[in-house]
């Protein structure tokens, strides 16, 4: 037996009930049992909380004015990008609830109202065990780090990249033009999958990948292949699990993050909005980070110099909308860059690039960030 209940942190439980007396009692009792809870009074409020937060377990009343528990469950299941949400419906004994309709909507379990605390606790433990089995987030990041370990662009590149990408996507979600495409799930997914953008570099031979200095045209052709290698790797995963929309997202980023807005990028020379939006976002994040990071063969550019290059690239290299987003959050970008500084995040970064001097001092680990 690997996993014991005590080893698994209890995920917060969202309670949904239109009856405040039931809601209050349920929440008091679960709190007393040491389970963290949040509450919503109707389906719409609940859906909003599920979309915004990181709620993994929902315990919802069946019958509610407005959106019913079954409808809420159906809506939760329609979100294809997000982590799995374990959904329990509360049924009352006197109603002949159509359990099949609950199951069809995607409910995982049913609990009778009024509840029996012991039974409820047991069922919630099961729920927690199931959602904690899903380890995709950490596996994705581990995979990205593994791919990066062969790459001289080490340090906290991936950590900064995903922060920039999230920041830019978050900004777009507030712009009317993108509000329909970029929602909270999109923002979370770009944060999750952007570190995989260069996963195809595992397939690039050492003499090209590790070459200090400028690549010859032939070598550059080989280097470009990392986008297609990444695509094929992730596309195989997509075919294996077509319902996992985040894999498709990761695949699109891998293949399109070197495309340029004017069509002069690679591998396909896509233009403008033919480039997937996630690729256009990651392009800005990736280039800015590459510019402001020192390499074996070059010094780090200052933010001022990097921002000018981003500005000049607007409309040619980069999507102007995303460049605008970049400049709306310049201060936060500088902060991320400073906070996730390589020399601070990676204690042994100086060993990887011996030519450089890193400031000494107390060095937090990457996990602490």
């Amino acid at each position: 037996m690997i996993s014991h209940d005590h080893d698994v942190a209890q995920a917060p439980i969202l309670l949904v009930d239109d009856d405040p007396a039931c809601l209050g009692m349920l929440s008091d009792v679960l709190n007393a049992l040491g389970m963290p809870v949040v509450t919503a009074r109707d389906g719409n409020e609940a859906l909003e909380m599920i979309c915004q937060g990181d709620i993994r377990i929902v315990l919802s009343d069946w019958q509610m004015p407005g959106m019913s528990g079954v409808e809420l469950c159906r809506r939760v299941r329609q979100r294809t990008l997000s982590s799995y949400v374990y959904f329990i419906l509360l049924t009352s004994l006197d109603r002949k609830h159509n359990l099949i309709s609950g199951l069809r909507a995607g409910a995982d379990d049913f609990v009778n109202k009024p509840f029996d605390p012991e039974e409820l606790q047991t069922r919630l433990r099961t729920a927690n065990r199931i959602v904690s089995l899903e380890s995709r987030n950490v596996i994705i990041f581990a995979l990205a780090k593994l791919a990066e370990s062969r790459d001289p662009e080490t340090g906290a590149h991936l950590e900064r990249m995903r922060e920039y990408s999230r920041l830019l996507a978050e900004d777009l979600s507030n712009q009317p033009k993108y509000a329909d495409i970029v929602d909270a799930d999109y923002v979370r997914t770009i944060y999750l999958t952007s570190p995989l953008h260069d996963i195809g570099k595992v397939g690039i031979p050492d003499h090209v990948l590790l070459k200090p200095g400028k690549l010859t045209p032939e070598e550059f052709e080989i280097m470009k292949q990392h986008t297609l290698i990444g695509f094929h790797t992730l596309d195989a995963a997509v075919r294996e699990q077509p319902q996992a929309a985040y894999l498709r997202f990761a695949r699109d980023i891998a293949v399109s993050h070197h495309e340029k807005y004017n069509g002069s990028g690679y591998p396909h020379g896509l233009k403008g909005e033919d480039i997937p939006l996630c690729g256009r976002i990651v392009a800005v994040a990736d280039v800015y980070d590459a510019l402001t990071t020192a390499r074996v063969y070059k010094e780090a550019f200052s933010h001022e110099k990097a921002r000018e290059i981003i500005r000049e690239g607007s409309g040619s290299h980069f999507d102007p909308d995303i460049v605008d987003a970049f400049f709306r959050h310049e201060q936060e970008i500088i902060e991320i860059n400073e906070r996730l500084n390589d020399s601070l995040v990676y204690a042994d970064a100086s060993k990887m690039t011996p030519e450089m001097n890193f400031p000494l001092g107390s060095i937090p680990t990457a996990n602490g960030v």
Binding site: P20, C22, M25, D28, V29, P117
Partner: protein
């Protein structure tokens, strides 16, 4: 209250204390909280019910009765829950005999208030 007396009086009691206590995992502070929350909402629901009954608004009556039933069940006020369910069903079928259920509910609510106040006084 020991288990034996609870058994004897269960029939006559407005609240099934044992079942309420076990739902509150034996914590009297949670019982108190649940009861005061229940009472607070019951007052409002009763007022709304009277208004709906006066205007013979069956849909509204059914809705409020349903809510009273749910709230009662959480605190194991099983008899009130039964009366409320009765009323809910009658209102849904637009039956005329709703007045009986209504007065049953009124009376039961009086008994409940008394029982709850006694209980709260006892615990404090």
């Amino acid at each position: 209250m020991n288990g034996e007396t609870a058994q004897v009086f269960a029939e006559e009691q407005s609240i099934n204390w044992e079942s309420l206590k076990s739902r509150c995992i034996g914590r009297l502070d949670l019982v108190q909280k649940a009861l005061s929350r229940f009472q607070e909402h019951l007052v409002g629901d009763l007022e709304a019910l009277e208004i709906a009954a006066e205007s013979r608004n069956c849909e509204e009556i059914a809705r409020i009765a349903h809510r009273i039933k749910g709230t009662s069940l959480t605190v194991s006020a099983d008899r009130l829950a039964e009366f409320a369910m009765d009323l809910e069903q009658k209102a849904e079928k637009h039956e005329d005999a709703m007045d009986d259920s209504l007065s049953e509910i009124r009376e039961e609510c009086c008994r409940l208030s008394e029982a709850i106040e006694q209980q709260i006084a006892k615990e404090i």
